[in-house]
Symmetry: C2
Subunit: 131 residues, 2 copies
């Protein structure tokens, strides 16, 4: 299976597959005589694992850990759960940050007439006037 097919089948772009290999997240793929990378079922499962991890927002380094835990059939699930919880906390912090941005901006927007007149509570708020 060429890299393009592996990309389609896994949902990871060919560009990123090469990148993941270059940073050691994936083992070097075997090559044809012409130098084309070849992928099999096992590689595909790893690629899908990586894609799902990225879909949940894990960083490359976290995924590196996840993959190695995944491949160690004797790891305690405690370790995986700890890693996942840590990421959950990260997501919560990000969410809180975005929520507070959203609320502050929504407030300003709700104060603005949005018509032809130049008075604008949004700009006034950004300029520092207490709304």
């Amino acid at each position: 299976m060429n890299i393009g097919e592996a990309a389609k089948a896994s949902g990871v772009s060919a560009k990123m597959i090469r990148h993941y290999e270059s940073v050691g997240l994936l083992p070097p793929a075997s090559r044809t005589e012409a130098g084309y990378r070849q992928y099999g079922e096992k590689d595909l499962r790893t690629l899908q694992f990586i894609r799902r991890s990225r879909d949940l927002g894990f960083s490359i380094e976290e995924i590196r850990s996840l993959v190695s835990l995944w491949q160690d059939r004797t790891r305690p699930s405690r370790q995986v759960k700890a890693l996942a919880k840590q990421h959950l906390d990260f997501l919560d912090r990000k969410l809180a940050e975005l929520q507070s941005m959203k609320h502050a901006l929504a407030h300003l927007v709700s104060c603005c007439h949005g018509d032809e007149r130049p008075d604008c509570p949004i700009l006034e708020g950004l300029a520092g006037k207490e709304s």
Copy 2:
């Protein structure tokens, strides 16, 4: 006022002040004979405007527009509101994305015992098994 003082007073780092100037978000600061950048009250207000905009998550390009709207005392507030609403939509999309990550991950985490045993629904979920 030197760049360091302006940085402290505005909450924008000296590094970023120089960067904003280099990308044209700020007009070139006046200089002392020795080449030190000098800032006055007006510059400070602009810096604070920029910092508040960044705190709300606006991009540099959006802030460029906001600043120019701010400095045009005859702009219709409609334009500002449109820009703000567009960013609000962006924030909503980001929030939804993070929420769905959070919920999916929280589900997996809640399924995992997190003890010494190797069975781990989190890894199984990432590997693609339906949970």
